[in-house]
Amino acid sequence: MVPFNKLAGIVAPLEALHVDTDQIIPKQFLKRIERTGYEDMLFYDWRYASDGMVPNPDFELNAPRYQGASILLTKDNFGCGSSREHAPWALNDYGFRSIIAPSFADIFYNNCFNNGMLPIVLDSATVERLFTEVRASEGYTLSIDIEAQTVTTPSGEAIPFEVDPFLRDRLLNGWDQIGLTLRHEDAITAYENARR
């Protein structure tokens, strides 16, 4: 995985609670056996006006000002529902590398780190404020520094965030998790032998 240290990018708002993985990517796209190529399928049922590929003008993410966004701002319990990793894949393929919300569903949260993406938990009041700021100025960007654990607004305010140090290190170093675990193969074998 590519190391992930800093990110500065346009922020796109998705104002909905409990966005489930069926909304992030509907099931008809889970039939593919590839790991990439999901960008057009993200938020499919919301994003397109008809079953064709006509963008729904009422879906905020479709607005020209949010094109090229790499940070998604959303609300509580994002990513609830199924364990499908197609959800982070689709977000990643679309261009989102970080998602900011007051809370995330557990499995989705883990899946993000396994794809080199950073979900950031900020308190509800801060998230509300960011929603207002994002909408107020076109081209609004945030800068994320993973090492320093801060999100910096255009006015220079640095908002701190918490992240498990191990998960943070994995992103910073782009570690291959399986490779890391396999370094402890002896311990796994010892465990298996002890239980026989």
Binding site: D22, K31, I33, R35, D45, I107, F166, H184, A187
Partner: protein, 469 residues
Amino acid sequence: MKKNIYEKIWDAHVVLDEPGRDTILYIDRHFVHEVTSPQAFEGLRLTGRKVRRPDLTFATMDHNIPTTDRNKPIEDSLSRQQVETLQTNCDETDIVCFNMHDRRSGIVHIIGPELGLTQPGQTIVCGDSHTSTHGAFGALAHGIGTSEVEHVLATQTLLQRKSKSMEVRVEGTLGIGVTAKDIILAIIGKIGTAGGTGYVIEFTGSAIRALSMEGRMTVCNMTIEAGARAGLVSPDEKTFEYLRGREYIPADRSFDELKAEWAQWASDDGAQFDTLVELKAEDIEPQVTWGTSPGMVTTINGRTPVLNELDGDDAKTTAKNALEYMGLSEGECLNDVEINRVFIGSCTNGRIEDLRDAAKVARGHKVSKHIDEALVVPGSQKVKAQAEAEGLDRIFTDAGFEWRESGCSMCLAMNDDRLNDGDRCASTSNRNFEGRQGKGGRTHLVSPAMAVAAAVKGRFCDVRNWEFK
């Protein structure tokens, strides 16, 4: 020190616990299905890694397969490719695969217990959120993503941070016509769909003890809908009796010895939990969801919310959007809501006891003429065979239900079983998300008995007043 079941299983499976690192936890059983595994096997191929313990890994196809004639090839070429890919991957790596022609096949969370693969004290994972089902046996069962599937295939371990523990205690006796499904929906209604986030839940209390293993599986199955990392019930005599004689129960050991070993996993008396939630069984009524999340639930005699009675803008907007999607108005009585589709099945309610419950209500009645389609989809081929041996299939078909082959079917509508835009469905599945059962489809989650009652009346009604024939 007194330990709860989660602590016991966790402690017994720690391979390595380094400070500042996630714990490496050993995995006893890895279930695999066709949708969340192809990229994991591909990852192994690309890195030249092997499946460490094919003997602890079991695969089946359930999400994509047709519930109609199995002898015809799968028409949808992508579905067919995914099913064939799993078969090839299993053949190449020596993993046992119960394919759709195997009489032991079915929904992964139904066949694990049925085959005795699921046992107390195990750690179990599957690339599927409803893996929590297996917790009914006193196993620690987590749903995982595809990268983690690859990790488990390669290492037979999973990285985990320890969760907090929550006890959900349900004391008392359920009323007639009130089921395990109503218990879990009531719990979700109480704590919310994120109420369990960061927790592993143990279900305790006399009402949980009184449930059959099928009922306990229904409760644990939907733990994920409360946001929890896993849900368990401490094993007891019922657990052991369910497992006796099943195919994968070790035959070289005496059953008494196994029982004694399994019994040790149960939470110690007086074990501590971080949080306690209590419900009285007597207060639980038949539940019906009204919205687009399992937490949007009320009783059969309840009403949809009135927006200006809700607290906060977010709650109002969310409820407003849900009502709009569901085509319902504020303060509408669930009793008055008419439906046109019915689905009985899924890993929540596709087991033999669910079908018996449903058949009791269906016997001697006819599906209403307002219903366009009423499906009964057994959770596994074994459930199907058992139901047919008991004559349940005839009760359903005589009443006007369709009787199908097993699989996930309209629980997520990846195959051809799906709702049309605007259809309204009484469903025994677990998710009422927008579009879950088909784009524009409206799902109301209920118990099997309530689904049949709704099929007969063409609208929701209180199964406690049913005229059994």
